[in-house]
Amino acid sequence: MAEQPAARAPGVPAAWTKPLRAPLEVLGELSVFFGQAVVTILRPPYRIGLLFNQLEFMAYGSLFVVGLTGLFTGMVLALQFVYAFGLFNAQSLVGATVELGLARELAPIFTCIVIVARVGSAVATELGTMRVTEQIDALETMAVDPINYLIVPRIIAAALSAPVLTMLFNAIALTGAYGIAVLVKDLSPGTFLNRMQYLVEIHDLTNGLGKSAVIGFVVILIAAFRGYKAEGGARGVGIATTQAVVGGLVAIFAIDYIYTAITLSNPQPRGGLGG
């Protein structure tokens, strides 16, 4: 009994292309969702109360964990750089290098990782549960636009919270690095701080903050999208949450690269190494 290859309906692509098509389809749907959300941001009613609820959850609620990860990040950077620069007697570069790395790269990225883990998972789970328990349909039958009511406050709050948390991360990490370098590794405060004034410039900070705002917005948009489109009961919510976290993590590093490539292609003139 020979197996007949299943006849393919015209217009239906072969099965092996699925792994290639699936991510593109998701990107397409995500873009449509993004478009809807952006159009809706501009449209009243503006839900200030809900925005503040979300800010409280995303920013205020994340202070402790962001501070803690920042502290350890700064401390370990100090250890590594004191060791590495010690190899060729350049300890005076430790402070500046730590802060450049933090401001441009580590603070925004680590903060956004914390946001994905803590906030993205919560957003996907909450919206997914609302979807599968028909609460989102209920909103619609009561003539309330779910994008306006649920999505917009979350993505705006994310774009505002991420830079604030990044600043906090940066400040605490620098304090931690200073503590280790000066108190434990016996660098003098001057050695640690001196070059920083010359090497770290304000646009290093704003570059990192801008990056964190973009990434924070996108990862919470992804989480909201996954939750909003969840289907199939508790299992579906679980899948949506996993996809939100995985998708968010990939997005962080992809956007990081693109953003950095674009902003570095036109670098700001920088002062010299300093005295």
């Binding site: 609302m130 328990t133 028909e134 349909d137 209920a138 619609e140 039958t141 009561m142 003539a143």
Partner: protein
């Protein structure tokens, strides 16, 4: 002859390659309760979501209260939906809000009533569904039957002409089922609403329905008052009903 309140004409709907509705024709008269019976996956919820305007038909139209809702845009639909209330299969209460905030939701969104007036209205609607003193509770603190009642109170808060119920009694014990049935009958008697009830609970359907319609394979295969359906010769309906009457 009065005009039907809900007039579904030759409605087709498919998802991907899956043809779910294959030409539904269904009229519902003002002030009556119509029950749509059908097996799992027969398209009952899809039909109801067309009546609510949550889905657009591939073909055919849905006329509600004299207006063709199939051609309305978002804004028109939003305005139109104040005439309809929907009670969901899972009640779909907002679990982050108290019962009062749930029931008052549409009032807070769309009217400028004072807090005093809102409290008064919420109390009045909860009384209609026989609930007292639960305003401060959260949905998680209520039983399944009570949640359905709150869902109905929320659906009728703006005095709709039409109330849609998606499987109001599925998953409830016989006593709670009876009380939800009474709630549906009560809502019709006290408010004069046109009710559409989606169900696969035959006992309930025959109890509350003025008209029972049998949905099978995307079409209405039989429709009429409960007594008529009980003696039907239509094979699918007969088969479906035999599971119930065959045993009693």
């Amino acid at each position: 002859m009065t005009e039907p309140m809900i007039d579904v004409r030759d409605l087709y709907k498919s998802f991907g390659g899956n043809q779910v509705l294959k030409g539904i024709d269904l009229q519902m008269m003002p002030g009556t309760t119509t029950v749509v019976l059908g097996g799992s996956g027969s398209g009952k919820t899809v039909l109801m979501k067309h009546i609510m305007g949550l889905f657009k038909p591939d073909q055919g139209e849905v006329i509600v209260d004299g207006e063709n809702i199939s051609v309305m845009d978002r804004q028109e639909l939003a305005r139109f939906r104040t005439r309809m209330g929907m009670v969901f299969q899972s009640a779909a209460l907002f679990d982050s809000m108290t019962v009062r905030d749930n029931v008052a939701f549409a009032l807070r969104e769309h009217t400028k009533l004072s807090e005093e007036e809102i409290r008064e209205k919420v109390k009045e609607k909860l009384a209609i569904v026989d609930l007292f003193g639960v305003e401060e509770k959260f949905p998680a603190e209520l039983s399944g039957g009570m949640r359905k009642r709150v869902g109905l109170a929320r659906a009728i808060i703006r005095d709709p002409k039409i109330v849609l119920y998606d499987e109001p009694t599925t998953g409830l014990d016989p006593l709670t089922t009876e009380s939800v049935d009474d709630m549906i009958i009560g809502a019709r008697e006290k408010l004069g609403v046109t009710s559409v009830v989606i169900s696969h609970d035959i006992g309930s359907s025959f109890h509350i329905g003025d008209v029972v319609a049998m949905l099978h394979d995307g079409r209405i295969v039989e429709m009429g008052p409960p007594e008529k359906l009980r003696h039907t010769q239509e094979p699918h309906t007969k088969h479906f009903l035999a599971t119930w009457f065959g045993r009693t």
